[in-house]
Symmetry: C2
Subunit: 166 residues, 2 copies
């Protein structure tokens, strides 16, 4: 009876993972589909960019989070998925010294597979724009990503260094 209850709980939890809506979004960007469940990925980092006035949250799937917490991110292990979520920044109307997120700008993804993505630095690169998650879908998109990320080729083409956590 107890086993059945636990099994039922497990199946219920599995079935209720909030992934369905994201899976519907059209495949785009170098043949990459938007990773399922990315909104529930774990914290890897945060940043603010003065060039485009955005705030960012960098989240990672379980492989990425475990790598980040154990300091094994150079290279990031195969199976890593990093989600970079951005919002236009704005001042808080409640606390003027705070800058907070406004409109959602885009979701960028880096998916590590050193075999599958060998020709693009070991990473699959994807970008979706705005709340409607419109695929960025440019012909040379991966090369556009790499052109900038090559600045950090000494840290596996990834700008984000995981935040320090107690």
């Amino acid at each position: 009876m107890k086993k059945s209850f636990l099994l039922f709980t497990f199946l219920l939890l599995s079935a209720s993972l909030p992934q369905a809506e994201e899976a519907k979004v059209a495949v785009g960007n170098n043949g990459i589909a938007i990773p399922e469940g990315y909104k529930n990925f774990r914290l890897i980092g945060v940043s603010q960019r003065s060039d485009d006035q955005t705030l960012r949250a960098i989240l990672g799937n379980d492989v990425a989070a475990e790598a980040a917490r154990s300091g094994k991110t150079n290279p990031w292990p195969n199976g890593t998925i990093l989600a970079k979520l951005g919002w236009k920044q704005k001042p808080s109307d409640k606390f003027p010294a705070a800058t907070i997120p406004g409109d959602f700008t885009r979701a960028d993804f880096m998916i590590k597979d050193s075999v599958k993505y060998a020709s693009t630095g070991g990473w699959g690169w994807g970008r979706w724009i705005g709340m409607e998650l419109k695929p960025y879908d440019k012909p040379d998109f991966a090369q556009e990503c790499i052109a900038c990320h090559s600045i950090v080729k000494d840290q596996d083409l990834e700008f984000t260094r995981p935040v320090k956590l107690p």
Copy 2:
């Protein structure tokens, strides 16, 4: 056999949740223990503060995340736990337009229980300082929190408005 495997998987997942180390930290701050598993809470928001030059990530437990995603955060439901994690900000040495997290500064928590914490605005308030998570532990700490958070009494004493997510 299949059921046994699923049950085993479920028990294994339950047992491997990375909560043990956090539970060791001393109880402090208005009698509140540091919430277990907070590093794996889900994204609620990010912010930057110019008054103390910090970057923040605001994470929430499942109750908080579900409330945030369904827009039911005024009031936040009982059972909500919000974790506000802060880092001293610094410029990126790889991408000068980016401001990124440096040293971890503190972890603040708000725990919603309108009965248990009726005398402190319906929230339990806790703060731990630095990588060693030293309890802040001041006698009038809850009142110190409320004094500032009363600015946002029209949004259940909570500054953070959940980020927009697709």
